[in-house]
Symmetry: C2
Subunit: 259 residues, 2 copies
């Protein structure tokens, strides 16, 4: 039987609140079993860019990453955010190791080809080095990923944290029984966006089609759910969407997604 | 017989010149045997601090590290500099992994006690986790260290890169036959600072005492040589000081230091 592995993605809103982050990391450190953490950190990068006079250009919620912006996100994602998370996990007896995709060559990507929009130094993932990640996990380490990859030719690339989480879960699913957790400020997929407790507790392909048809799924949730079904189609066992509390509280409502 | 391990420190002047750095990394990648790279990055941090309006205070060549300065160096050392070095080494088929002392808990330190001067978030090293570093080396990885440690209680600390290099060499010397290389812009310890070719090729304790007595050793070189003899007294096999070219060219002059 395969060992279980949790791939947990936390969003910017948890990272930007120091108290929330510290509380989350304490509880994350205590979670049983093998685990990988993936973090975003978008707003902090925007703040630093503003201070440095680097313009932040977003298209459809995605950052256009020119050379200057790439430097800013490398500083914030791989430096400030990643290392402060690692140091806090160490303080909670979790032997964390901070990684970009370049470290140990764990995630290779290619620069997104220019079609209608030139996203700049944005990477689409080609491969996850599950052998190296397994060795790190076997060493007792908990990998902590920032949202950066590399192209193998010396170029760092900005890659969406949700995508990194799903590709890691997919890449590891041959060797592990993998569950992917998307943590954000809401309790899950909501029937009514105005009602935080209207959580759809279980979504399978049939439910998904009905929710789509009835326009229940809001714009921001669409790419997330597409990511989820992509992961499930590629052998990830289960995907959960909800507040970080779903990881450690038994009474928490959240959304479970299966095929 | 112990395996050989090279701990190689490169200074700010190599890092700040993109062409020099790229040339160095290509040659470093090709070096035979187990190796660890340690990099500084001081001037880039000063430049970012200036852009952000954070004052850089130096006392005796050491940076006073308040909370804002710590954020700046975390961004530059652990983010921008470390990850661009790692990505370039990967491009040269060297399986590099970027580390601060917090990652894998590899270097623990304590905040320097306030005596005459309050250095702020500066760390003096307590321990090097040679077991973890050996596991990473055994996995085929080449650790690349930035000049940061942590205190085990969640606090990142700024630690001099020369000191990180010597403490790593010392910490690994129980398990490996360790050579420590300090690379900088000169060819080694010079008899005459105005003559770049007046390299003292071999320094032992006797030579060191004579050079000190004759005031041959310039101010900047004093703490470096003290570091060298400290390392040699703690079982490091050999220390070399010189231009990076000493690592791969047979005809290069450089200084070898032994007890």
């Amino acid at each position: 039987m395969k060992q279980k592995l949790s791939v947990i993605k936390i969003g910017g809103n948890v990272i930007e609140n120091k108290v929330e982050l510290s509380k989350f990391l304490q509880l994350f450190a205590g979670l049983d079993g093998l685990k990988i953490l993936v973090h975003g950190g978008g707003k902090l990068a925007t703040q630093l860019a503003t201070k440095l006079g680097v313009e932040s250009k977003m298209v459809g919620g995605r950052r256009i990453t020119d050379a200057e912006t790439l430097e800013v996100i490398t500083m914030v994602y791989a430096g400030l955010t990643n290392k402060s998370i690692v140091a806090q996990l160490q303080a909670n007896d979790c032997n964390a190791i901070g990684l970009s995709g370049a470290d140990g060559n764990v995630i290779q990507a290619h620069k997104r080809p220019v079609k209608k929009i030139d996203f700049g130094f944005v990477g689409d993932i080609d491969s996850v080095n599950s052998t190296m990640l397994t060795k790190l996990l076997d060493t007792g380490l908990t990998p902590v990923f920032c949202a950066m990859t590399h192209d193998g030719n010396g170029q760092l690339l900005n890659t969406n944290a949700d995508t990194i989480a799903s590709e890691l879960a997919i890449g590891m699913s041959e060797l592990y029984e993998t569950t992917l957790y998307y943590c954000f400020e809401k309790k899950g997929v909501l029937m009514d966006v105005a009602d935080d407790d209207s959580v759809v507790e279980h979504i399978d392909l049939g439910t998904y089609q009905r929710l789509l048809k009835d326009n229940i799924i809001a714009d921001g949730m669409l790419p997330k759910l597409e990511n989820c079904f992509h992961a499930l189609n590629k052998n990830v066992s289960k995907v959960c969407i909800g507040h970080p509390a779903m990881l450690y509280s038994e009474n928490e409502l959240f959304t479970t997604i299966t095929l």
